[in-house]
């Protein structure tokens, strides 16, 4: 099992399961978390190659999760996804990128976009 492990942090169960399914269809190993706090725990337990995190979630916001990961010097690849909110989708994704996300993807997305981003990120390790 040398396929890369991807951690998906997403509060919306339907979306979370869908992303897991899309990744598994593309032969990635997947662990999931329903919020930021749980996500950080999973990260420490499983040491994934890529974290896909939603940005607006209960318990712990995605941006905070990204900052927490980067604070501990982690070089894990991070893909931020968001359906936006009061301040606008592109804005929050831009903020996420500036705070440590390697790439961003707006919801809703087509499977090909998600898999494309994941492949790109895993192919170019963070310096």
């Amino acid at each position: 099992m040398n396929n890369p492990l991807v951690l998906v942090i997403e509060d919306d169960e339907v979306v979370r399961d869908l992303i897991k399914r899309l990744l598994e269809m593309a032969d990635y190993r997947v662990v999931v978390a329903g919020n930021g706090r749980e996500g950080l725990k999973q990260y420490r337990l499983t040491a994934p190659a890529l974290v896909i995190t939603d940005l607006i979630m209960p318990e712990r916001e995605g941006i905070e999760t990204i900052m927490e990961l980067r604070k501990h010097g982690s070089n894990v690849r991070i893909l931020a996804i968001s359906g936006g909110g009061r301040i606008g989708n592109s804005d929050i994704l831009r903020v996420a990128r500036s705070l440590g996300a390697d790439d961003i993807l707006a919801k809703p997305f087509q499977p090909v976009d998600l898999i494309g981003k994941v492949q790109e990120l895993l192919a170019s390790p963070r310096e």
């Binding site: 919306d12 339907v14 979306v15 869908l18 899309l22 269809m25 607006i56 968001s82 359906g83 936006g84 909110g85 009061r86 301040i87 606008g88 989708n89 592109s90 804005d91 831009r94 707006a106 919801k107 809703p108 997305f109 087509q110 499977p111 090909v112 998600l114």
Partner: protein, 635 residues
């Protein structure tokens, strides 16, 4: 006629006696009537039948009368006597003179009824005059030709506060004790006193106002004085003068109080900016207070006030309304408060409010109107402004609420769309073209993508911040957008462009691109399948004092009516059919322009097209201002 009574024997004497207007008779020593003149026979109405008879027998009532006594005295003592008495048998007054003759007496008598009557009339007249003089409440003072007081009535003493004796001892009515002043309160020299003036000029002095000190009341009293000179027949200078005066102190005080009250009212009206006026229906006259003249911008001295001259000042559009209010009052209907515009002589148009109350006589019939007039121009302007601000605030609050709502909805919708779109894709890839399920999944995918687009528009509307700001040339973004749009716009629509090369602006070119796309799309939809033109111009303009780029997009489409125009910027407001538009296009444009600190104006008329003019501030000269980004994110 006999000589026995010693009458002159000549005929001339008899002739004289017969022709005299007095009645004459001669009585001899035996009291026999010797002669009666013609006049005497007429007066006694008995002719000369008494001649030869003894007086006491012929006229027995004479014996005990004053006449009888006088005759006996004249006869006995030989002296002339006279008597005067009412003689009942003839119902008349007579006077008689008896003169002794050597052998009798000669009596002259005459009817004095007329004299007696005029004497009685004179006495009655004098009595009336004295009574009037005594009881008149006007003072009367008589002065001789030197000004000395010769008589005065009790009222004069009462008014002047002096006894009649004190008055009569006064030198003249200019007596210094009275400390006389004229109507303005200035000391009045004795030579200027009305009575002295009447004496010196010989002319009547009318209605002279005089203040004198009344020692009894210990105060100044105000008199209204007439001085009338009197002349003897044929003389040019008066021999006396009388002054007639009344005490007007109470009236004068009332007049002063009234004047003060009027001044007070006038001042109060000025302070409150409320004028008043009256219409008298009996003669159609109008009366205004000073403040009403001021409100109308008129000069009281020159304006000829009348129903017509006032109506002419009322704004032509309000004239009928104003006239109806006056007419209603005339018919006894209290007019409601009305507001109308007036065109003042200085060119100002003012709005005034008028409140009326009817005036009625004792029988209740309407005889006029009393009205107040208030200038409400500023008040109404302030009210309008307040209403506009309230409306703007409400509009802003509504937009803000919608923005919050839209953001929340967008987030949830995007999450919901993830499985719809992703699973539709998976299903599409797992089925073969031509299979019914494949087509269904494609429809789901298309619907999902359309929903995604819609959500993006909602988010664009709710977004408060611009994207990465950059310096860019508006003209090139315009050309790029127009190039793309031309391909999608029907060929029946011509896009004219006139783009000046202007300095760059600072902002998000992507958003500005979106602005152009939205506006051109709207214009193309407004024109529809008919031929039409969309004109795009770019020029230099200003926002306040700051230089700005001005982008105008004008179409020849269907335009908007006022109601549509007033709601054009509201999110989700659309005139397009279901599926044709989201109602977000213009509100997104407005949001983007506002976030670029620009302004936007829409002009439109039904059937004549629409013109949207946007001004965006030019970037300040110099390198890319990094501070601008920071400033925005701190907002």
């Amino acid at each position: 006629m006999t000589n026995s009574v010693g009458l002159p024997p000549d005929l001339d004497a008899l002739t004289i006696l017969e022709s005299t207007t007095d009645c004459v008779c001669v009585i001899d020593r035996d009291w026999r009537i010797a002669y009666m003149s013609r006049r005497a026979s007429v007066e006694t109405a008995r002719g000369r039948e008494f001649v030869g008879l003894v007086l006491w027998e012929a006229l027995p009532e004479i014996g005990a009368s004053a006449f009888g006594r006088a005759y006996r005295q004249a006869m006995a003592e030989g002296v002339p006597t006279e008597a005067e008495e009412f003689y009942p048998p003839l119902d008349a007054w007579f006077s008689a003179n008896a003169y002794p003759l050597p052998d009798g007496i000669m009596v002259f008598f005459r009817n004095i009824n007329a004299r007696k009557q005029s004497e009685a009339a004179l006495r009655a007249s004098e009595e009336r005059f004295r009574e009037l003089f005594r009881t008149l409440n006007q003072g009367i003072v008589f002065h001789d030709r030197h000004g000395n007081i010769i008589d005065a009535n009790p009222a004069a003493g009462h008014i002047l506060g002096l006894s009649l004796d004190e008055l009569r001892s006064s030198r003249h009515s200019g007596d210094r004790r009275w400390r006389a002043v004229d109507g303005e309160g200035r000391e009045l020299p004795p030579a200027k006193h009305p009575s002295v003036m009447a004496l010196s000029t010989g002319r009547t002095q009318h209605d002279c106002v005089l203040g004198i000190f009344n020692p009894l009341l210990d105060e100044r009293r105000w008199l209204l004085v007439d001085a009338i000179p009197q002349f003897r027949l044929g003389e040019a200078t008066p021999y006396q003068v009388y002054t007639l005066f009344s005490d007007r102190t109470d009236q004068r005080r009332a007049e002063i109080a009234l004047r003060e009250s009027e001044a007070h009212l006038s001042r109060a009206q000025r302070v409150a900016a409320i004028g008043s006026g009256e219409i008298d229906f009996s003669n159609g006259s109008w009366k205004w207070s000073d403040e009403t003249y001021r409100i109308y911008g008129l000069d009281k001295a020159t304006f000829v006030i009348s129903a017509e001259s006032i109506a002419a000042m009322v704004h032509v559009e309000d004239r009928e309304y104003f006239g109806a209010s006056v007419e209603a009052a005339r018919r006894g209907i209290t007019p409601p408060t009305i507001e109308y515009r007036i065109a003042r002589p200085d060119g100002q148009i003012r709005t005034v409010a008028r409140e009326c109350e009817l005036t009625r006589d004792e029988s209740g019939a309407v005889i006029g109107v009393i009205a107040t007039t208030r200038d409400v121009t500023e008040l109404r302007a302030a009210q309008r402004q307040r209403e506009e601000l309230q409306e703007q605030l409400l509009h802003a609050q509504r937009l803000d609420a919608l923005g919050t709502l839209a953001g929340g909805i967008a987030h949830d919708l995007n999450n919901t769309l993830v499985p719809i779109i992703a699973l539709a894709c998976l299903g599409r890839d797992a089925t073969r073209a031509g299979e019914p399920l494949h087509a269904d999944l494609l429809t789901i995918l298309q619907a999902g993508l359309r929903a995604q687009e819609l959500v993006q528009k909602i988010l664009a509307f709710s977004r408060k911040e611009t994207a990465e700001p950059a310096l860019f040339a508006l003209a090139s973004v315009l050309r790029e957008a127009l190039g793309m749009l031309r391909a999608g716009v029907p060929s029946s629509i011509c896009i004219d462009e006139s783009l000046a090369d202007i300095p760059p602006i600072h902002g998000d070119p992507g958003q500005i691109h979106q602005v152009i796309v939205n506006l051109i799309t709207n214009s193309a939809q407004a024109i529809g399948p008919r031929p039409g033109t969309i004109t795009v111009t770019l020029d230099l303009a200003a926002i306040g004092a700051a230089p700005a780029a001005q982008l105008a997009i004008t179409d020849t489409g269907c335009g908007m009516d006022e109601a549509t125009l007033s709601r054009a910027l509201e999110p989700f407001f659309t005139t397009k059919g279901v599926g044709e538009g989201t109602g977000l296009g213009l509100s997104v444009v407005h949001g983007i322009v506002a976030s670029h600190h620009g302004t936007m104006q829409i002009q439109s008329r039904t059937g004549q097209g629409t013109s949207v003019t946007i001004r965006l501030p030019l970037a300040p000269p110099g390198p890319e201002p990094a501070a601008a980004v920071e400033r925005k994110s701190n907002e």
